[in-house]
Symmetry: C2
Subunit: 436 residues, 2 copies
């Protein structure tokens, strides 16, 4: 990029598929992004816009004059448009809404009624509906007159006179059945429509379990309001996965890899600050045992081992339980089994590594009692780590805290404090008896 | 479950949708799983089997007699069946193959030619093909005669006489176009078929970027061999996400939440063992400074803070870079920008928290030089952590090591060693001068 002339870059960029061009823009540092965006022609801008991440999209569009903005975004899918408008400043939103034609505005307002992470916020309003009483030859005539079936349409949606959802009619049935068949005879009625208020996470689970491609969305009165397509569900799944992964490191899933330094520093500082507090708590525990440490300096050498092993073992349990909860596998009936199993695993692994580290420590410092101390502390900390790893996410969920975000900090605090306390406490007891 | 009689449970279980029943079985401890599985009638067993996770599926099927097995699994999708057979013992596989009818066997062998994580391993062979020269009325007659269009079919696939892929024909076009239209006129030819050897990760990216529902798969000679459907791609996306998340904690993404204790202990012990080695390395570093620690016990109290902050900051960078690499955002052109940005973020956050912890330490132990030491060590370790967090995954990728699995161990080793070395080393230098 740096070496080519602008006109060359412009030509290449405008001939790329929209998704590729968007990918290129997202992989560039902020300044180059602006330049690349300026080089796009209008048609390509509309195309690229559909594929850009939310944060980058808002950044690029914020400063555009309203008219240009309206022109650019009116072809976006209703759900994308709704998400975008919710990110833009209030006065821009109202001006954009005023600039849209009546039909688009009505559709958009319907989607914007629902929060972004519900079925209503995910849906599109480009549904094709038919009545149960008509025959397939009428359906086919209707479709020919429409001339254009929206992308990712596998079913026509059947509604009654009140626009209430009654069933789906797969397009494949229209193709293979006799033209005299009525919609009522061929439609599938044991399909549950998704309530518009349902959580996006539940929607994704439903799509995954039933291998759906599209699903109808209804409001509280059973009226059809839109449909959800699998591509939007894939986005939900990917966002959730990123949330779990990034949350473990205290990052937001929208974190922009190539964002500016200053922005990034502020975002991450909070997490480091929280961690500093927990590290200070661990230090406070250590400082209780200053006298013992002064006498036996080997303790200072070995003490990080116990804390570190606890942290690792605990985070294995924590990760497993968080995943199982996300998959909906943890229920009242199996919680006790899961907890018992993890405690047993912790105890057995604690025993194994207690023997190894106990022997190592005893030989290294030529002090058998040191081996006993670190071994006992190890078993204790690994059992506590397993229990904490299993219980923390369950308790947090009940308290409405997101365990993917806060779980690992709390866990490390527990394993550090217990690790230091057990090791140095045992040492203090034992050496006090031996020395005195 | 525990309270109900078997016959009650049997009735409920056999009337649940397959996906729900499978979910119930997966959420149960091993012994209950066996019982639940025994209670299913054969029809439901086939249904449930489709939705069970790989590890659980193999566990339940391993001990069945071959005939029963064949009967049970011959209705599975070809790709699922191929995956399953690859997990079963060799002699079972060959007996199952022998038990299948010729057409199924041929299809299956085609899929089993390709590794599970390639397009060929993901594909199904249930394609409907048409020739370019026929008209839509012939197509529609053909579909009516077939009577059954496989689930998730949005396109017919157009092939020439040699069975080479030439284009796709959306079913919607067949519906809305004049019956006299020929396939050639209406088909879409600027669709690229996926090579059977392509990596599953690349396939998923393609589906996500282009919002595909299905895609044709071809062999080296351009011959159509099958098609990939979005539901299998969703599974790939979810498995990859789990791999990243679980890998960070040293867990396998197939780890069975309700697996047996003994099995789990063995799986996790390795990871703890590796961690013990790195913790011992950190201890070895500390032991270099035993003399200094003996003189200034406050150092032992504070030293975990520097290491811990480095670990957190480093894992933020590491997670971000691993995600960016998975999304294909890291290229030769922007590596330097990314590294510079992360180093700058590390330095600025280092400076900020160095001031905070420096002041805290100086006040706590009433020793300004201790504040200076910990502050300097903090800045140094956070910059090193940022550099290591960015470089480790890049280097590992070039060496063919999976950074999601090994990245965090190596990173923590670096930040621990540098943290202890910097803090205790600086202290040794400074106190030696002050005391002597």
């Amino acid at each position: 990029l740096a070496s080519g002339t602008f006109s060359e870059v412009r030509q290449v960029l405008n001939n790329l598929p929209g998704a590729e061009a968007a990918h290129l823009i997202e992989s560039s540092p902020p300044r180059e992004r602006e330049i690349l965006w300026q080089l796009l022609n209008q048609e390509q801008e509309t195309e690229v816009l559909q594929y850009l991440g939310e944060e980058v999209r808002v950044e690029l569009l914020r400063d555009l004059p309203t008219e240009e903005l309206v022109e650019l975004i009116e072809d976006l899918d209703t759900d994308d448009l709704a998400d975008l408008l919710q990110e833009l400043p209030e006065q821009v939103t109202s001006r954009v809404l005023a600039g849209l034609d009546a039909q688009n505005r009505e559709r958009l307002e319907q989607v914007m009624n629902y929060p972004e992470d519900t079925a209503g916020g995910l849906m599109n309003t480009d549904v094709i509906t038919v009545r149960p009483e008509i025959t397939f030859s009428v359906v086919q005539r209707y479709l020919r007159r429409l001339g254009d079936i929206p992308k990712t349409t596998d079913n026509l949606l059947v509604v009654n006179r009140k626009n209430q959802f009654v069933g789906v009619l797969p397009l494949t049935r229209v193709l293979i059945s006799d033209p005299g068949t009525s919609v009522r005879e061929a439609m599938i009625t044991d399909v549950e429509a998704i309530p518009a208020t349902q959580d996006a996470h539940e929607v994704a689970k439903l799509f995954e379990r039933l291998d759906l491609v599209t699903a109808p969305v209804v409001d509280d009165n059973g009226m059809l309001v839109g449909r959800i397509t699998i591509d939007d569900v894939v986005d939900v799944i990917m966002e959730e996965a990123e949330h779990s992964l990034m949350g473990m490191a205290g990052l937001d899933e929208d974190e922009d890899t190539f964002g500016s330094v200053w922005h990034t520093v502020r975002r991450r500082a909070l997490w480091l600050g929280i961690n500093l507090l927990t590290a200070l708590a661990a230090s406070a525990v250590i400082s209780l045992f200053e006298d013992t440490l002064e006498k036996v300096v080997a303790l200072a050498v070995l003490m990080p081992i116990v804390a570190s092993m606890g942290g690792i073992a605990g985070s294995q349990t924590l990760t497993l339980v968080i995943r199982a909860m996300a998959l909906g596998q943890v229920q009242a009936g199996n919680t006790r089994y899961l907890l018992t199993k993890e405690l047993a695993v912790g105890a057995l692994n604690g025993l194994l590594w207690a023997l190894v580290i106990g022997a190592t420590a005893a030989l290294w410092f030529d002090d058998p009692s040191l081996g006993v101390i670190i071994g006992c502390a190890m078993i204790l900390n690994l059992v506590v780590a397993a229990g904490a790893g299993a219980l923390i996410p369950m308790v947090m969920k009940r308290m409405g805290i997101d365990p993917a975000l806060a779980g690992s900090v709390v866990l490390t605090t527990v394993t550090d404090i217990v690790g230091f306390m057990a090791f140095l406490g045992l040492a203090t007891l034992l050496y006090a008896n031996l020395v005195v």
